[in-house]
């Protein structure tokens, strides 16, 4: 490894004016914060919408929202949470902040494109929010936007609502593509000396693979959106079958709604992993750091991420068992779905084995990380039920499905988001978040989500259908109504408790205890920056030089229980600079 880190001639000039520095910024750290704040802001809107829906379900006589509003809120809640909050926060927020710092780059390779990516994202959010104010309000088609009902009269927002949604999605995809290009090329092209691919922290691996998946999967949604816009505005028949709506023959003929479902889920299932893989990566680093132990089976973890990413493109139709698709087709997808559980289970085992005999510090990020493992197992196990065609058919469209996907792709990634924010907040602000508030926030959120979603499994097995505005039917027993009320009360309490988190973030930014550069004694590069928060260009005059992987915790004989990646290897060690695992 003969190279000189001083060969870094990439001069960065810090912009001076406020606008260039904080608004039209091309600095990945500022863009990351812009992304994160926007995503959390729009996520709060979705949280309020879910509260309103829960009030309707728990107290149907309250008459707070009508059926139309219920469907509109349901649609917006789902789409915002999956796309505009989780995807944007993991890739745009954490990806932007952590990739350059963790691989030892000064910035993304295309800073201008990075800036454009954020502004396109913001535009997509504004267009989406505008749909609350168009005639008839936002679309109420459900977050999957299935035609023909999405663009047929009688569905709320079938004219303007769906149009704003589709346009907003198309803009979001442009933004995600610009961002994804940056993440991929930065990882491939801008790593610091000594930072080989197999030395990158798993966070970077997770976001890197997710970004590639986003580049391949989002075009499916883009195509579907374009085709649906044409169907609804210009009268084409890509998806719209010959149909009589409101007693009138519509102008369409013979389109295929199933085609939309294929396109949508070809995006939709990888999307689950576009959210999950960054979460897997982040949580691996949290667990290793706070258990003071190297991650178990690093290579296996990397390959599991890659294999999950690959396989996730071959499971989409498990969302369509009851769509009228050929059922033997369904068995292929049942098998591929069960196969993807193998690399996923490997990851779970490795997390648990990393904890095994670790020096576990029950810090707030660690609590959230452990909460994630538990929740992900629970949500994953119900996935085994739903992945099987014969079991899925009776459970499809019941609250069992709602419970499953909220556990596995709602609560689990959100727990990682919280843990990661508590973990990296000191690097972003230079201050610690309040520990006691963090504990209270964790226990309310963790226990609360179980109180919300565990009963939903029962409701689902009972046969309570999802997407209903109210349940005034004979086949719904009183116990289900009581449970619904219970769930609503807990959900509102958990929702309100998030104020603790927001307050903690705001208060700690001003009053938090000063953290120093490396409060968790972590090894990875972002904790070794000369300044905290990192200055423009991240590394001062010289790029860092990497000499080891990111998981040297509790190395016997080392003076501390961690060795930063920048620490040179002792020259006496045999085989320096060569593969040491030639076994």
């Amino acid at each position: 490894m003969a190279y000189s880190a001083s060969a870094d001639s990439h001069a960065h000039h810090e912009p001076q004016s406020f606008v260039r520095k904080y608004i039209w910024s091309q600095d990945h750290k500022v863009i990351a914060i812009q992304y994160a704040v926007t995503a959390i802001g729009v996520g709060l809107v979705a949280l309020v919408l879910s509260g309103l829906m829960r009030i309707q379900l728990g107290f149907p006589d309250s008459g707070l929202i009508d059926a139309e509003a219920y469907y509109q809120f349901m649609t917006m809640h789902g789409m915002i949470m999956v796309v505009y909050l989780l995807t944007a926060l993991f890739l745009g927020g954490f990806g932007n902040y952590l990739i350059p710092l963790m691989v030892g780059a000064r910035d993304m390779v295309f800073p201008y494109l990075n800036m454009l990516s954020y502004w396109f994202y913001l535009l997509s959010v504004l267009v989406l929010m505008a749909s609350f104010f168009v005639p008839d309000g936002p679309t109420g088609a459900g977050w999957t936007l299935y035609p023909p009902q999405a663009i047929t009269g009688g569905t709320p927002g079938a004219d303007w609502g769906i149009l704003t949604m589709l346009v907003s999605l198309a803009i979001f995809i442009v933004a995600a593509t610009m961002g994804g290009l940056n993440y991929v090329v930065t990882v491939l092209q801008a790593r610091a000396p000594g930072m080989t691919l197999m030395r990158m922290p798993l966070t970077v691996w997770g976001i890197f693979v997710a970004a590639i998946m986003a580049l391949l999967a989002f075009p499916a949604l883009f195509v579907a959106a374009v085709m649906m816009i044409l169907d609804s505005t210009l009268g084409t028949s890509f998806f719209m079958p010959a149909i009589i709506a409101m007693g009138q023959q519509m102008d369409h003929e013979g389109g295929s709604p199933l085609l939309f479902q294929h396109l949508f889920w070809f995006f939709g299932h990888p999307e689950v992993y576009i959210v999950a893989l960054p979460a897997f990566g982040l949580v691996s680093d949290l667990i290793s750091t706070h258990a003071r132990k190297n991650i178990f089976g690093y290579h296996m973890m990397v390959w599991a991420i890659v294999i999950i990413g690959f396989l996730s493109f071959f499971v989409w139709a498990h969302h369509m068992y009851v769509s009228g698709m050929n059922l033997s087709f369904g068995y292929f997808f049942a098998i591929s779905t069960l196969i993807i559980a193998v690399p996923t289970a490997i990851k779970v085992y490795n997390w648990v084995l990393t904890l095994w005999k670790g020096d576990i510090h029950f810090t707030v990020p660690m609590l959230f990380a452990i909460g994630f493992i538990v929740t992900f197992i629970v949500g994953g196990l119900t996935g085994l039920f739903l992945g099987n065609v014969v079991v899925d058919i009776p459970l499809a469209d019941t609250y069992f499905v709602v419970a499953h996907f909220h556990m596995v792709m709602g609560v689990a990634p959100i727990l990682v988001v919280f843990g990661a924010i508590y973990h990296w907040y000191p690097k972003v602000t230079g201050r610690m978040m309040d520990e006691r508030l963090g504990h209270i926030h964790f226990w309310i959120t963790f226990l609360g989500t179980y109180a919300i979603y565990f009963p939903m499994h029962y409701l689902g097995v009972l046969g309570m259908p999802r997407r209903y505005y109210d349940y005034d039917y004979d086949f719904i027993p009183q116990s289900a109504h009581d449970l619904n009320t219970f769930i609503t009360v807990v959900a509102l309490a958990v929702g309100v408790a998030q104020v603790l988190f927001l307050w903690n973030m705001a208060w700690s930014a001003v009053r938090g205890r000063s953290s120093g550069g490396n409060p968790w004694n972590a090894t990875s590069l972002e904790w070794q920056t000369p300044e905290t928060p990192p200055g423009h260009g991240n590394w001062g005059p010289e790029l860092p030089e990497v000499h080891r992987w990111a998981y040297d915790y509790n190395v016997p004989g080392a003076p501390q229980d961690f060795i930063p990646q920048t620490e040179p290897r002792p020259t006496s060690a045999p085989g320096h600079g060569h593969r040491e695992d030639a076994t």
Binding site: M1, Y3, A7, S9, H10, A105, R106, V109, F110, G180, L181, V184, V185, L188, Q189, A190, R191, P193, T196, L197, M198, R199, I212, L215, L216, F218, P219, A220, F222, V223, V226, M227, L230, T236, S237, F238, D251, G254, S256, L259, H262, L263, F266, N294, F296, G297, Y298, H299, M300, R548, W549, Y551, D552, P556, G557, A558, G577, H578, E580, D581
Partner: protein, 206 residues
């Protein structure tokens, strides 16, 4: 490759990851842009590939009527091919540092691409006159969708081309010119390939 972290009593756990591999040096513009462009081709390939998949799935339905392809698409094919070749010409001229030849080739490439777009518009107009409207039949909808998406991407390429043309007229630094020509050429060849595949699909699976 070892999945497990090896432990040796005297040295503790050994890093399973290797530190070999050459450092690529500080980020340099050329390789980063090239890699960026190749990465950008991924979503585009996915986009057109999915449209073709949708086309194949849709055409099995009973209401499908094959499109009578207007003859202009063959003219378009020739024009786009010529445009791609002109970029190769420009690439050669850039290598030889022959500025006037480079300018001519760049101009020709852009003009041919514009001619391609013109020919496509002609094809659409002709089709419309024969009653082949967008909503006439799903096959027509797909024809317009495919050719339209392709034309939009070429239009985006022409934005890059106009910047290249400006640079070549102002006589920018040779390495920078060579890089932009190379990037444009890659993108053009990609769009030519996409066009040939789309046309193949439209002809073979009408």
């Amino acid at each position: 490759m070892s999945f497990w972290v090896r432990r040796e009593p005297e040295r503790g756990s050994l890093e399973p990851s290797s530190g070999i591999g050459h450092w690529q040096g500080p980020v340099s513009r050329g390789p980063a842009l090239r890699r960026g462009l190749y990465t950008f081709l991924l979503p585009l390939a996915s986009l057109f590939g999915l449209v073709i998949m949708a086309y194949i799935m849709r055409r099995h339905m009973p209401d499908w009527q094959p499109v009578a392809l207007p003859w202009q698409v063959w003219l378009s094919t020739l024009l786009l091919l010529a445009s791609s070749l002109a970029f190769e010409q420009a690439r050669k001229a850039a290598r030889l540092a022959h500025l006037p030849a480079l300018r001519r080739a760049v101009l020709a490439a852009g003009a041919l691409a514009l001619a391609f777009l013109g020919s496509q518009i002609w094809a659409w107009a002709d089709l419309q006159q024969q009653g082949g409207y967008l909503e006439a039949n799903p096959s027509y909808s797909f024809f317009y969708l495919m050719t339209g998406l392709h034309a939009l991407h070429l239009l985006g390429g022409l934005v890059a081309w106009s910047r290249l043309r400006m640079a070549s007229r102002l006589g920018a630094d040779r390495a920078a010119l060579q890089l932009s020509i190379q990037l444009c050429a890659i993108y053009w060849h990609f769009l030519l390939t996409v066009w040939l595949v789309l046309l193949g699909v439209l002809v073979i699976m009408a």
